[in-house]
Amino acid sequence: MRHRTPTLPPAAANTTTEDAMGPLIEAHQLHKTFGEITAVDGISLTVQRGEVLGFLGPNGAGKSTTMKMITGFLEPDSGWATICGHNIHEAPKLAKSMLGYVPEGAPSYSEMTTRAFLGFIAEIRGFRGEEIKKRICDAAEKTGLEPVLDQTIETLSKGYKRRVGVAQAILHDPPVLVMDEPTDGLDPNQKHHVRELIKAMAADKAIIISTHILEEVEAVCSRAVVINRGAIVADGTAEDLLRRIRHHGAVSIRVPTDRSDAALRLLMDAKFVAGVETLGSANGHLHIRALPRGAGLDPADVAALLHAQHIPIDELYIERGRLDDVFRQITTSDDQKRKTKGEGAANA
C-alpha cells in the first residue's frame, strides 16, 4: 500500500494553522475514472473563507466523487486538492485535521450511542479528558442532539442520524467543512435548522455542500457550481445563474381574455419588449409574458402602456426564473451539445 509520511513542504511548515490569504479549499484539475467511466473530468475550484459553495448537478454528475477526492477518501488519477494550503494526499493527517466531512448518507457506527460515537471522534481528533465532554456538549447543542445523546444511533430517526453526521463534522470547529447532501431526508423544520446552522458557521469557514434541492442554494449558498458529466458547466451566485435563463426579468401579466388581443398587439410594438409569449388562459384571463429587450424591463412601463388603452391588468410581476429551470437548461443543453458533436464526428 502507499504509505506516505505526512511531510510538509518547507514553505508550509511555518503555517501549520492556515494561510489567511489563500483559499481554504483548492482543487486543481481533478480527474477520476472508474474503468471505462469518466466520473470527474478536470474540475478546478477554490473556496475562500466565508464562502458557502453549493455543489449542484444531476445524480451521477460526479459531485460525490469530487468531494471524495477533496476530502482525501479517493485519490485522483491526476490533479490535486488542498485544505488550508496542505495537500490532502501529501500531508493527509494535517489536511484532514482541518476538515470536517459529512459523507453521503452521513454514516456512523450504529451500535454506539450518540455520546460514545461523538466521544470516539473527539478522541481521534486529539481531544482528551474534560475537553471531550465539552466538545460533545457543544456539537450536540448546535445540532439539537441533546435529547438523544444516550440513545444508540441505530434507534434514531433519519433526521437525528443525519444530525449525528453533522455533529461529528463540526465537533473540532474545523476551518473547512464538506457536506454531501446534509439535509437529504430531513423534514422542513430540520432542514431549516441545518441551514441556519450552516449560515451561522459560514463567516469564518469555507464550506462546500452538495445538494439537489435548489432552494437550498438560494437559502444558504454564496456561490453555486453546477457540474454535469464530471465537468463544471456553471459557476456563480444564484442570481448569476438565474440571469442565464431566457425569461429572467420578464414581466408577466394577466389581462381579461376579451382585451388580450389589444394587449398583445401593444406589447409587441413596444420598443422595450423583445418578444411576447402567451402562457395559457384561466378564469377569463390570459397570462402573457413580455420578454425584456436589453438592460431590463420596467414593470411600470408595461403598466403605463396598458393603462393608456384602458386595459385592466389583473396581476403583474417580474419573473426571476426558477433555479430548477436554469439547472435543467444548463445540464440538458450541455448533453444536447455533446450529442450533436458526437453525431457530427460519427458522420465525418
Partner: protein, 248 residues
C-alpha cells in the same frame, strides 16, 4: 510513532467495545468456551488418557479457529464498507495502517479474552494432577499467536469484499489451506507441477506443524517469527486491499 500508537489504541478501544454492544460477544464467547471444553472432554478423551496435561484441549484449537476466527474477522472491513463508515474513518486524521492495526488488535484481544475464559480447564487439570504449567502457558501463547495469524488472513479477506458471508467462507478456506499446507491434501495437489523447493516452502508454511511444536512446549524463534510474519504480511495485504477496494 506515539501518534500511530495512540490512534491505533483509540480505534482498538472502539472496536473492542463494539463486540460487546451486540449479542455477538456473548454468543461467541459462550460457544468458544463450550466447544473447546466439549472437544477436549468428548473427542480428545481428556479423562480417559489419564494424563494431567491440556494436550487434548489445545489439539482441537486449529479446527475450532477455522470456524470461529473467520466469524470474528469477517466483519472487520466488510461491515465498514457496507455501512459506508469506511469513508468517515478514512477521512479522519489517521493513517490507514493505524486503522488496520487498531481493528486487528481489538479482534485479537477479543479472542484472547475468549481464551482467558477457558481458565477452568487449567484449574481442573491442576486440581486433578500435577501438569507442566510451562507447557500449558506456551500452548496458550501458541494458540493466541495462531488466532492472530487466522485473524490477519480474515482481515485481508474482509477488506476484499462487502459481503460478510463471502468473507467468512473465503477466510475459512484460506486458513484451512494454510493449516493443512504441510499435509498430503495440499502437498499432493502441488507436488505434481511445482518444483521441490516450492513444495518444501509451502510445507514449512503450515500453521498446524508450527502450532504442534509449540504445544509440545517448544517455543523457538523460527516459530515466533513465522506467526508474526504471517500477521505482518496479511495486515499489509489488508492495507492494499482497503486502499484498492474502499471506493467500491
Amino acid at each position: 510513532m506515539r501518534d500511530t500508537f495512540d490512534n491505533a489504541w483509540i480505534i482498538a478501544k472502539r472496536e473492542f467495545r463494539a463486540y460487546f454492544a451486540t449479542p455477538l460477544a456473548i454468543v461467541f464467547l459462550t460457544i468458544f468456551v463450550a466447544l473447546t471444553g466439549a472437544f477436549a472432554f468428548y473427542i480428545g478423551g481428556f479423562f480417559d488418557r489419564g494424563q494431567a496435561d491440556l494436550a487434548p484441549f489445545f489439539a482441537y484449537h486449529p479446527w475450532l479457529y477455522l470456524l470461529l476466527v473467520p466469524a470474528v474477522a469477517m466483519r472487520l472491513w466488510a461491515e465498514e464498507r457496507k455501512s459506508g463508515t469506511i469513508e468517515l474513518l478514512m477521512t479522519l486524521p489517521i493513517s490507514p495502517m493505524e486503522a488496520i492495526l487498531g481493528k486487528f488488535l481489538a479482534a485479537w484481544a477479543f479472542i484472547g479474552f475468549a481464551l482467558v475464559l477457558t481458565f477452568p480447564m487449567w484449574i481442573t487439570v491442576n486440581a486433578l494432577g500435577d501438569p507442566d504449567n510451562g507447557v500449558i502457558l506456551t500452548s496458550y501463547l501458541g494458540s493466541f499467536l495462531m488466532a492472530g495469524a487466522f485473524l490477519a488472513i480474515g482481515s485481508f479477506v474482509s477488506a476484499m469484499t462487502k459481503n460478510q458471508v463471502i468473507a467468512f467462507i473465503l477466510a475459512a478456506t484460506i486458513a484451512f489451506l494454510f493449516t493443512m499446507s504441510g499435509f498430503e491434501l495440499v502437498q499432493n495437489s502441488v507436488k505434481a507441477w511445482l518444483p521441490e523447493v516450492v513444495t518444501q516452502a509451502i510445507s514449512s508454511m503450515s500453521i498446524l506443524s508450527h502450532f504442534e511444536r509449540i504445544t509440545r512446549g517448544v517455543l523457538e524463534a523460527p516459530t515466533l517469527v513465522y506467526f508474526l510474519s504471517m500477521i505482518t504480511f496479511f495486515l499489509f495485504a489488508t492495507g492494499i486491499a482497503v486502499d484498492q477496494k474502499k471506493a467500491e
